[in-house]
Amino acid sequence: MYQAIVLLPLLGAILAGIIAIAGARARHPGGSPAPGAENHADNAHAGGHGAGASALHADIAHASSHHAADGHGHAAEPPAQGSRAAELITSTLLVISAILSWIAFVRIGFQQEDMRVALFPWIVSGELQVDWALRIDSLTAVMLVVVTTVSALVHIYSIGYMAEDPHRPRFFAYLSLFTFAMLALVTSDNLAQLFFGWEGVGLASYLLIGFWYQRPSANAAAIKAFIVNRVGDFGFALGIFALFALTSSINFDAVFAEGPVLANKTMHFLSWEASALTLVCILLFMGAMGKSAQFLLHTWLPDAMEGPTPVSALIHAATMVTAGVFMVARLSPLFEYSPTALAVVTFFGATTAFFAATVGLVQNDIKRIIAYSTCSQLGYMFVAMGVGAYSVGMFHLFTHAFFKALLFLGSGSVILAMHHEQDIRLMGGLKDKIPVTYWMMVIGTLALTGFPLTAGYFSKDAIIEAAYAGKNPMAVYGFGLTLIAAALTSFYSWRLVFKTFHGAPHDRHHYEHAKESPAVMLVPLALLAVGSLAAGLMFRDIFTGHGVAEFFRDSLKFAEGNHVLEDMHHVPTFVALLPTVMMLIGFAVAYDFYLRRPEAPVRLAEQHALLYRFLLNKWYFDELYEVLFVRPALRLGRLLWKGGDGYVIDGFGPDGVSARVIDVTRGVVRLQTGYLYHYAFAMLIGVAALITWFMFGGAH
């Protein structure tokens, strides 16, 4: 059964891939499609980015004038053959996989059937022994449910959303490939397999962000996502190497057994002695920061919204970006013994939660607002991990998957209704035009902001409480920032809803033509809405309550002195009420600004122009990285290209040698004058030279 859960999506990916390739062959017999043939007017707006070299600052141009054309005008091209077949195959397989996952969830979580399914040996080299195996425990089960459910719903939703796209087989192949990689990641039994899944989802993410490859901005965003993730993965790989150097194994069981021992070891790193475990954990956390778009490595996530909206929902909200959180939870037997590493995790989580929320306040692109929201919520999860409340973090991961996917898919529905308009300043008053979407978005927003009894209420408030109860030095910092971020979250979420659905329409043309999305898109929304409302109440006990120990058992490690789960239930009442109060404040301000006095925010922005621009430009991170990394890298590249390769290697290598050969040839040929006396002279010179040689040099 577990093999089926993991491998069915792979089967779907392969079948859809074959259909895509066959379709491409049929359409372009004898070669690749002409690049110009599928290009559209939207290149003009992206032209400002210049070439791919500016990948890392692709979103600068978006900040003010983003007008991305999600799936624009592909209707001109006939759809690929077998599109319907590809959709049905992949969706059906995913639904089966999802159903099996729920069965697995019940069996593992409540009937306690942990197991390890060994498939086959993978790498055997000296001390390194890596098997391909499925590690099935409660942590895995939670992830299986999240991944397959959201993925199945996104597959179904995409049938409607991508209906006009000519490349559907390719799209569905990528989606299923992603799902397979993600499942490989969550079922991994060792770090190598984890890394395989890690890179697999990275690849799928790259492919899907750049799905509309005719659009330069999409390519730039895809490259940016890939490169920024390289930075994190570098740390991740170093962490794996260090762990192998210390324990001679990268299998989870063997490594975890060494956890307490490693805490007292030190190792030599970059000329200083560091605590071995802290070093390993921080290096591994670097990988998590990249994948989960944490502060400093977050810049790729907003740009990733260049991909189709279902992709944003699946990969860049519900599943892939939570891989970092999952990884910390999976490695809790290591992190638990390194207070320093946990403090670092808390610090970055809290900072991200606050930072992303502030940026989200002023964005105008509907998908970017939700993207920053995702970034911020991931920060929350890491705060929970950092204070040792791993199950609470997993709880937020679980609920967040539902309501964030709901918000993304809902915004996709809005975008479709607005004919690929994504700027919320041009929307307004849509609630009467697309009521179902409106209510879905409201449910998602309620859950996100933590309205009592919704999913977010239980998970997010639990994180804030855990931060208050946490013992590590950064816990207070985490508590403060997550609390402020709760108000900010409420503000930007309601701002989005009010500007999109309330007030007067700003673009009458689009407004008039707006119509509700088809059922194939609304049904997944409804299912997600149910999850957003109910998931918190249903599962609160096993994630935050007394069921934790029984449900998670050995999959999460709580050290002797870690009582945070207990303590968080005994925080003062005001602490428990504060998040709700913050949520209400945020709602009230948003209501005031965008429904009662719409001119107020404009005035406020003018009064604090500096702050407004700072936030609008996302704390100038892209510009900073541009100056610090991108330009020096380009300069270095140019130096090595022009100076190293062009001048030195070509100059002294192929080009130089051939030029000298030609010079020599010219000289030698000139000797051949055609005059007899020259020839005779050469012979005599030759004889004279040889004789001279024997007279003065070589004779013995």
Binding site: I662, V668, A680, A682, M683, F694, A699
Partner: protein, 478 residues
């Protein structure tokens, strides 16, 4: 002369047979007129091949006659067969050419036969006088052949240049021979060897240098090569093909026997000369050929370069080195004759063309021809598994074993440069726009080209006959 002291004639039987046959053919041609050119050519080829068979079936071992000045050993047999086959092929290559130019001359095959007699004397020569006789017998014919197109300015110029420079080189050779005689008191190689073993003097070295200058001229080694490009380009193409094959064999044979037999004890001295000449020839042959557009001129530089490579083996001065030279020479003859067969088939309606640009797109107009030329060119460039690679391999191997690393390294580098112009022709044939096609090839050209191509292509499959005969030939000198 007392009949009782009449020297045994058996060792010289092939030469005698050729000489008599040449006279008979001459009479036949003179009295029955030029209508029988083809018959005479055929008979000449038959005569040469018959001589080759006789050489092979002479009594085994080392035979000497004429007072020790004429030696038939395995070395001589090997080189003679090579020269005879080369000459026969050169006659075969010529018929179609002279026919199409309406310049048939019955003297041509007869002159080649006479020249071949000179080569065979040269190959067997064991003293300086016999050597000079053979050399002049061969060379005088070559001068005439270069100018055989009396009406062509280029041909006459080539003949004249060759003659003047050849006379100069003969003078040097004679001067060297007289110095050697003066300082050793003998003209026989074994006597010179004995004398130099006892003592050497600067005068003897002077003689050595002049003597070797004459040798170098015949194998067109730098700096005595200057005649080669002009004569190759100016002479009629079949004559060039002949120049590039059989006389080179004889020249190499003379060079080896002269160096190894006559001066074994001052080997370090002549090794310096040969080493220098080899390096200079390889480099010049490689570099200068890049600038050529004329295929014949290119082949001239190519043969200069190849002689440089062959001389590496001689520079090693060992039995293995000599064996390398012999293998090299044999394969060189096959490569060169095949390539000239292609040049001789470069005929359009307007006449013969010689520019390498005329080969453009040959792969589309004449795929088989292009394939064989490509094989030959790859072989000339020394690319495995073709024969040319093994030719170079054995001389380089000998050089390495003799400790001549610098020579081997320079040789390899030079062959890299040389590969450029061979491959450039392949590129022109296979990747450039197809030009006007050539006239169909004659049967003789096809036979020569096919044989040469197959030898080069399949040598690696069954190399032992050549390797074994070359081994025994080299052993007979030491």
């Amino acid at each position: 002369m007392n009949p009782a002291t009449l020297p045994p004639l058996v060792p010289a039987l092939p030469e005698l047979m050729l000489a008599l046959g040449a006279m008979a053919l001459l009479m036949f041609g003179v009295f029955r007129g030029p209508r029988f050119v083809h018959v005479i050519s055929g008979l000449a080829i038959a005569l040469l091949l018959l001589a080759a068979v006789m050489v092979v079936y002479l009594p085994g071992g080392t035979l000497t006659t004429f007072g020790g000045s004429f030696v038939v050993d395995d070395f001589a047999r090997f080189m003679k067969v090579l020269a005879l086959v080369g000459s026969a092929a050169a006659i075969a290559l010529s018929t179609d050419y002279f026919d199409s130019l309406r310049e048939q001359r019955f003297e041509y095959p007869i002159l080649i036969v006479l020249s071949t007699i000179g080569m065979m004397m040269l190959i067997s020569a064991a003293d300086l006088i016999a050597l000079y006789l053979g050399l002049e017998t061969m060379s005088l014919v070559l001068y005439v052949l270069a100018a055989i197109h009396r009406t062509s300015v280029r041909s006459s110029e080539a003949g004249l240049k060759y003659f003047v420079l050849g006379a100069l080189s003969s003078g040097m050779l004679l001067y060297g021979a007289s110095l050697v005689y003066g300082f050793t008191g003998t003209v026989s190689f074994s006597g010179i060897a004995r004398a130099t073993a006892e003592q050497t003097s600067m005068g003897l070295l002077f003689g050595l240098v002049f003597l070797f200058a004459g040798f170098c001229f015949k194998v067109s080694a730098v700096p005595f090569h200057m005649w080669t490009p002009d004569v190759y380009e100016g002479a009629p193409t079949p004559v060039t093909a002949f120049f590039a094959s059989a006389p080179k064999v004889a020249g190499i044979a003379m060079f080896i026997r002269g160096a190894i037999d006559a001066f074994p004890d001052i080997a370090p001295q002549w090794q310096q000369i040969v080493g220098f000449v080899a390096i200079a020839s390889m480099l010049l042959g490689s570099f200068a050929a890049i600038g050529q557009r004329n295929f014949k001129r290119l082949m001239a530089y190519s043969s200069i370069g190849h002689m440089g490579f062959a001389l590496i083996g001689l520079a090693a001065g060992t039995e293995e080195g000599v064996r390398g030279v012999l293998i090299y020479t044999a394969i060189y003859v096959a490569m060169t004759l095949g390539t000239f067969a292609v040049i001789l088939s470069m005929r359009r309606k307007v006449g013969y063309v010689e520019d390498i640009g005329d080969l453009s797109g040959l792969a589309r107009t004449h795929p088989a021809l292009a394939f064989f030329l490509a094989v030959l060119l790859f072989s000339l460039a020394g690319i495995p598994p073709l024969a040319g690679f093994f030719a170079k391999f054995y001389v380089f191997l000998a050089a390495i074993k003799a400790g001549l690393y610098a020579l081997a390294v320079i040789g390899v580098l030079a062959s890299v440069v040389a590969a450029y112009y061979y491959l450039a022709i392949v590129k022109i044939m296979y990747f450039d726009e197809a030009g006007e096609g050539f006239e169909p090839m004659s049967a003789e050209l096809k036979v020569v080209l096919g044989l040469a191509g197959l030898i080069n292509l399949l040598f690696f499959v069954y190399p032992s006959p050549l390797l074994e005969t070359a081994t025994s030939a080299a052993r007979s000198l030491f």
